[in-house]
Amino acid sequence: MSEVLKIDNVYKYFGKFAANDGVSFSLKEGGIYLLVGPNGCGKSTLVNCISGIYVPEEGHVYYREADITSEDMYKIARRGLVRTFQIASPFLSLTTLENMLVALPENAGENIALSMFKPTWVDSEINAVRRASELLKVLGLRHVWNKPANTLSGGELKLLEIGRALMSGAETILLDEPVGSIDPVLCHQIFSHVLRLRDEIGITFLVIEHRLEVAAQYADHVFAMDRGKLVTEGTAEEVFEDERVIKAYLGE
């Protein structure tokens, strides 16, 4: 298994406060990785650094050997490294289907000049709709395809986040709390989607979640963070038993 994503000693400061204080780890192709840590330990900040929303002050991020540390967000996404948002960020007034369609990387009708000439893009639009509709079916969202995103429930929005990342042709997906505030049933559904996507199309996942017990059974490998630093890593059991992790969650 080859290395897909490598984070090398990343520092991200807000003023003097180091939200990421020298984080290093790497992900192998086709793995499901879990990133745990208490609130405010810098998990989302790390994802922002990887996906290009922030540029880390120090350190490097490599995706498939290419240095993407200070690359624009959209260029990173085009490489196939796509993230979702902790607070679901759909296009509120667009429908579920349209939300999916916007994410498709190559749609002829999204060219400013071609958009004037419908025959040039109508086929690619039809293909896009078919693809989106299949993905919605896989994720169990097809019944809400025609609802504007601002009327979807929290759970549906979380699924839509994943759907949008898939629609964009991602090969590695960073899921920022995909099951935050989700009921246990949907939680396990979402994780089984993750498993299925990994098994069937080999997508690599980095999943952020701070409730270890929920996600542990699905992860191949767990990273634990505390106060901007990676404290330990290993299998779920190893991390579970590590006293530094216990201390981080339960206090001294």
């Binding site: 929303i53 624009d72 967000m73 959209y74 996404a77 085009r78 490489r79 196939g80 796509v82 979702t84 948002f85 759909p90 296009f91 007034s93 667009l94 429908t95 289907l97 349209e98 369609l101 916007v102 498709l104 990387p105 190559e106 749609n107 002829a108 009708g109 999204e110 060219n111 400013i112 000049a113 071609l114 958009s115 004037m116 419908k118 040039t120 893009w121 109508v122 690619s124 639009e125 039809i126 293909n127 896009a128 709709v129 078919r130 509709s133 299949e134 919605l136 896989v138 097809r142 395809w145 025609n146 504007p148 949008r164 990342a165 898939l166 629609m167 964009s168 042709g169 991602a170 090969e171």
Partner: protein, 402 residues
């Protein structure tokens, strides 16, 4: 009334009067403003860029007519042996302009083809220079959001007027500049031809904008308006798309600035004030319904008609009103803007959720398994720019070859 206009057009000698005159006038202004309002709907209503600098996009059209088309016509006339007064120095440029234009006009009167090609040439230059202005606007538009961007763009529009006022060779400074009448070949009432051509151009640009907004590109614009970070997170270059939008809209908007220059046969920076070319189009858009094409059209028609009727009938209105109504339409602009924002913020016809017309989404969604969702779409990359066209067309060819 209609017969009168038709008659006027046919007999080519009767000047329209009274109500018919008003209708021609409204048609002319509607043609001009539907361009600006639709471009604004494109930029603000859909892409969410609060462009308070419409006036700068319009003024570049006026400047094109005065600084480029007029010079070109003078040069060509001079080469053709027409004896015109010296015009190359700044002083001559301004003070000889009425005489020169008069001389050139009689030369132009026998050359309809030449005149039409001058009009087309101006439009082409407008598209180019307008795009340059759009690119300039995109520089702050990429960094700044809402309020600050609005302030920068208002300032840009005012600055462009100051350029016009102080740089004589552009549009004759404060005195303005007469420009050749490219409708001299028409012996009847030229305003009718002007109005028809303007209306035509206005309607064409309306349909172009409408087609673009009813396409995946329009959807992409609305997505950027809703959440630009998300658009970026799936690999779309928001900065580039914004720049394209501004360049395209500016290019089209500039045409209306050129047309009004031709209409008046005169260009002066004072004709391109932001009240007229920014705030009125904003009222049209907000009144009609931002994001809605039909709404923009309706808003533009209503506001233009109202404004022109007031302006044309001020003499009569003054007798009815007890207060001086010199600035009545400006007062109305302010009152209407405030009233619309308070009572009907979404406009007369609010934006409605719309799928692209002509594609049956429900049928496509209900269809049984057609594509394998597992096959990721591997071809990543921009399709927003000019290069995207070649990629798309090239891609088509490859498929055909297979």
């Amino acid at each position: 009334m209609i017969q009168e206009i038709a008659l006027g057009l046919l007999t080519s000698s009767v000047a329209v009067e009274g109500t018919s005159r008003l209708i021609v006038d409204i048609a002319m202004y509607f043609g001009l403003f539907v361009i600006v309002a639709m471009a604004l709907n494109f930029q603000y209503g859909n892409a969410g860029i609060p462009n308070m600098g419409c006036a700068v996009q319009v003024i570049i059209g006026g400047f094109t007519v005065s600084a480029i088309t007029t010079r070109l016509i003078f040069t060509l006339a001079g080469n053709a042996g027409v004896e015109i007064l010296p015009w190359t120095s700044d002083y001559d440029w301004v003070y000889n302009s009425p005489v020169n234009v008069n001389i050139v006009n009689s030369w132009l009167s026998g050359k309809p083809l030449f005149c039409i090609s001058m009009l087309l040439f101006t439009i082409a230059i407008n598209l180019v220079l307008g795009a340059v202005i759009g690119w300039l606007i995109s520089l702050p538009a990429i960094r700044l959001r809402a309020t600050y961007l609005m302030i920068v763009l208002i300032t840009m529009a005012d600055a462009s007027q100051i350029f016009g006022r102080n740089i004589t060779w552009i549009s004759g400074g404060t005195l303005g500049l007469f420009i050749p009448d490219i409708f001299k070949w028409y012996s009847g009432d030229r305003t009718i031809v002007m109005a028809i051509i303007t209306l035509l151009i206005g309607l064409i640009s309306f349909f172009i904008f409408r087609t673009m907004l009813n396409s995946p590109y329009g959807r992409l614009m609305r997505a950027i308006r809703e959440n630009e970070v998300t658009v970026g997170s799936v690999g779309k270059n928001v900065t580039g798309i914004r720049r394209n939008i501004l360049m395209f809209a500016s290019g089209i908007t500039a045409i209306s600035g050129a047309l009004i220059g031709f209409y008046f046969s005169y260009v002066v920076e004072a004709n391109y004030q932001r009240a007229l070319w920014t705030y009125w189009p904003w009222l049209m858009l907000i009144l009609g319904g931002p994001g809605n094409n039909a709404g923009t059209f309706l808003g533009c028609a209503l506001v233009t008609a109202l404004r022109r009727i007031i302006i044309v009938n001020k003499w009569f209105l003054q007798e009815v009103f007890f207060f001086p109504i010199a600035y009545f339409e400006q007062i109305l602009l302010g009152v209407l803007l405030i009233a619309v924002i308070i009572f009907r913020p979404n406009g007369i016809i609010p934006e409605k959720l719309l799928y692209i017309p002509g594609v049956n989404y429900r049928k496509l969604v209900d269809e049984e398994v057609v594509v394998d969702w597992r096959s990721a779409s591997k071809s990543r990359g921009a399709s927003s720019g000019i290069s995207g066209i070649f990629r798309t067309l090239g891609g088509k060819k490859e498929e055909a070859g297979d």
